[in-house]
Subunit: 161 residues, 2 copies
Amino acid sequence: MVFSGRIARPIAASFSSTTNPLLKVGDVLRKPRTFNHLDLVNYAELTSDYNPIHFDSGFAKEEGFEDRVVHGMLVATLFPRVIASHFPGAVYVSQSLQFKLPVYIGNEAVAEVKALNIRENKKRYLAKFSTKCFRDGDLVIDGEALAILPTLEIREEPFGD
Amino acid sequence: MVFSGRIARPIAASFSSTTNPLLKVGDVLRKPRTFNHLDLVNYAELTSDYNPIHFDSGFAKEEGFEDRVVHGMLVATLFPRVIASHFPGAVYVSQSLQFKLPVYIGNEAVAEVKALNIRENKKRYLAKFSTKCFRDGDLVIDGEALAILPTLEIREEPFGD
């Protein structure tokens, strides 16, 4: 299709069927994940974090939890994963994390990454996101992330679980 | 050794050979780690974060890095690991992370967790830590963490690498 006159702006290409949509303020990217025992073992083997609240059900209950808890930082890895999967080449600048509620094995955690602010800088984009994680509608992690994106084109999620 | 008079304060017990020292403001806990290729593969398999800046040397160099970069959140896992290893049962409340410089494969990253503030609350301790990570003396990650500790006794690091 040939555009002419005032309509023929380059940005129009982003709405064609052959290119990806562009990130704009208010857009939300979501990723659900249910953590299992093996995920905790793999995380502990990688990080050497064998805190008994993650591996000893009796200990976790004595500490006031319903059962052993998924490592908070493991749940938080959903945020950079969501950003990197939709914006390959993204570089993390900062991340804040408030751990509000525990996530247990078998719970579905849903990460929601929402664009709050986008600023162009030297042919890159500095994007501020709210990064929230929910479990059955309850907020389990709250925070914000800043990332440098090489493009605003939102790629379809290319990675597996 | 028997203390008497004004010296015989209960806190003196923390300096005996049979009990652990108690955490106090200003104490620093350190943990070095050198990340290798397999660590990045294991992290990516666990989190599905296959951002090419971590796996494609040419891509990383085009983005301005010296080589492919260790996932920032993988480096950041050193902080809860340090806290949990010395205070088993610690519960993370919050963590802020500013990623200042990249960590490359083969670099030694040294996590330093310093007690800034300690407050007793319902037989637990709310401790605020500065969480810094260095590479050859340069600050690569800066931030703070809040954690609830079941005790102020500093356990010897019980976990392996």
